[in-house]
Subunit: 459 residues, 2 copies
Amino acid sequence: MENTKIPYKIYLDESEIPTQWYNVRADMKNKPAPLLNPATLKPMTAEELYPVFCKELVAQELNDTDAYIDIPQEIQDFYKMYRPSPLIRAYFLEKALGTPAKIYYKFEGNNTSGSHKLNSAIAQAYYAKKQGLKGVTTETGAGQWGTALSMACSYFGLDCKVYMVKVSYEQKPFRREVMRTYGASVTPSPSTDTAVGRKILKEHPGTTGSLGCAISEAVEVATSTEGYRYVLGSVLNQVLLHQSVIGLEAKKALDKYNVKPDIIIGCAGGGSNLGGLISPFVGEKLRGEADYRIIAVEPASCPSLTRGKFAYDFCDTGKVCPLSKMYTLGSGFIPSANHAGGLRYHGMSSTLSQLYHDGLMEATSVEQTSVFAAAEQFARVEGILPAPESSHAIRVAINEALKCKETGEEKTILFGLTGTGYFDMLAYEKFNDGLMSDYIPTDEELQKGFDGLPNVPEN
Amino acid sequence: MENTKIPYKIYLDESEIPTQWYNVRADMKNKPAPLLNPATLKPMTAEELYPVFCKELVAQELNDTDAYIDIPQEIQDFYKMYRPSPLIRAYFLEKALGTPAKIYYKFEGNNTSGSHKLNSAIAQAYYAKKQGLKGVTTETGAGQWGTALSMACSYFGLDCKVYMVKVSYEQKPFRREVMRTYGASVTPSPSTDTAVGRKILKEHPGTTGSLGCAISEAVEVATSTEGYRYVLGSVLNQVLLHQSVIGLEAKKALDKYNVKPDIIIGCAGGGSNLGGLISPFVGEKLRGEADYRIIAVEPASCPSLTRGKFAYDFCDTGKVCPLSKMYTLGSGFIPSANHAGGLRYHGMSSTLSQLYHDGLMEATSVEQTSVFAAAEQFARVEGILPAPESSHAIRVAINEALKCKETGEEKTILFGLTGTGYFDMLAYEKFNDGLMSDYIPTDEELQKGFDGLPNVPEN
């Protein structure tokens, strides 16, 4: 190993954990489009959102003017349980690739939720507690969000009802059990608990569920149960706001060593991790202070940015949620059963969608066998078994590093390693046994999703 | 949370990772008894051990005079991948218990092996590589050791053959898959690959295996295959030597804040984690420089220290290994199927056995339902889902902290949190469903194990 001043792992001090979130919308000239009421097609007011979301979270959702928002002390305290997260210089990977590129990754998997999801879960649970609620409802796909929320609710003594996509519920019994260990109730979705679940089951008997469908159920339960609200782990502006701690810490760690990344890479499902990681860097870009190449990576099987439409769409299958303007494959699009459950969502954060639309961010898609090949290579040299979702970013980071090897360029690459893959070993088994396949939807299949887009006249 | 100068997590700098292992035997007046050749009942010579173990590891095994042994640069490099590990002040747990005690734990689970086992795996793989071997064989029970070894072998390009206790192989397919992801071959034990496996299968058809049995198979394959040696993840002196990095780091972190523990607690199966954690503290005790109360915690179902005999015994079921003088339940003792696979071993490190015999360490045993209750309590407030093995130490740490609550004493407690429980969710499920039971062997059952002890005359 070369002798260098930059350590393998850069840990900030506890005193350097951010005390304010950064709200990138404040610096955007073209603001993300507002949520619309599906009945009136008018922007949702705060009052209209209160039955679904906690009041302070609604305020954060609608706030596109304040660049910094204070993190309450109780959340700062909880962050100390698992933050700051390390920024790791991938010396081992660089050596294995023989690349002149300098690779860094921000590792958010060293907590029991196994991912970055805890950053927003604790914030949302805090505001629910502060509002005097009994509990919250949510959906979970891959399970990281549900796990994170169960941990956060356990900490504040809130009830936590999780609707888990049925295929994940069955394939990931251990995920379910972690949530139960933290006191959450976990129901496979679609269920017969809700009107929307019963309707979906009737229309699609034998369905293994989807995120969009689980969202509909969780929202129905929240809005029909006294003292409950709904919380969501991605897509929303408030989530990207909370997740900005990832980028703020990463930037502070890099700044300490005067390192400026040339390329910033993150996987993108609903956008929570990518949005959080890039926020402060995009802020500099928006303010004309610096330039960065930013790449969103999505699965070829669920390509909302690279093949979707920029349009108003429902956030959920049951069409009970507000309309959001975003890159979308249509709320009726059911992605093939790939192994990155966290990236199987038909839409994309409206903030990221706007940044992409405005050319401030690139997007690319990758196929899952190449993703698992990168995951295995990474695990063997860096010693961390990555989640399938995170491995999408690894794939592209390796690709970019190999390009540097060809050209001899010493680019600095930063990517987000959102989580660990301990609960994804069925997918790894499939890959190890050579049984994993790729799937790319045809244009005709995508058209079916687009045909279901709601008709919203341009302003 | 109280405002204090001691952070939640104390991370040493990379430059503070130990560059020498500490060999506690050098400071022991009563040295651990030597390994005996079972045929001659004479101490094993280095030459007799070479067919089984790598040469440099044999030298470390037999070295009871050098207090410090240099850590080769290649191992130091690898340590940087996941070390230093954090020393965590359990502020959240202290608050939940309402205890005046100050609780610290050294967390070794933040790496893909999920435990401290990697500390010795990388050392043993390094010496195998240095000796020009093709590969190594080993056994694994709970799976942490096998995972750690597969990671280490992958790093050095060594072949890795793991014999996994059959019940674990079946109950923990994901563990197996992690090892395969790192390129290891994994065989359920007993298998028909080996003479000893076939013999055991014939005598005990339908057996679900044991650590002692898997050791016999791994040793047979190593000694009968060109270019292979056997490696073991616990019990041996060399393993305790490598694991001393745990205690050295913990002590350095505490020293930075002038903290001196009153009580040091660790779980004890074969003794690798406990021996590593306590080594530098016991060294001070042996040299008369300080005093510490040290507590080994074992499962009530496999109580080698608290109910075993201090005698020469076989290390394995097949009786192919040398004899070791240790606290043992007899190599024929089959512990009940408790959920802490890493603690289901009939014997105990000869070094720890000697320290216990000489009154330098206490031991206690706990039942598994109380262990899982402690695990769940800990997970909910500290945010780390502990391995069942580690939770034995948590149980006793909480008990001691609650005693302080009664007496008002502000004792400082340090315990070892050896690993995470992500692959133990079947056990958690049993606990969550109220289906977990306790088992304590009767004196008659223990006597059967003692009846099988070899007849070794006292010197």
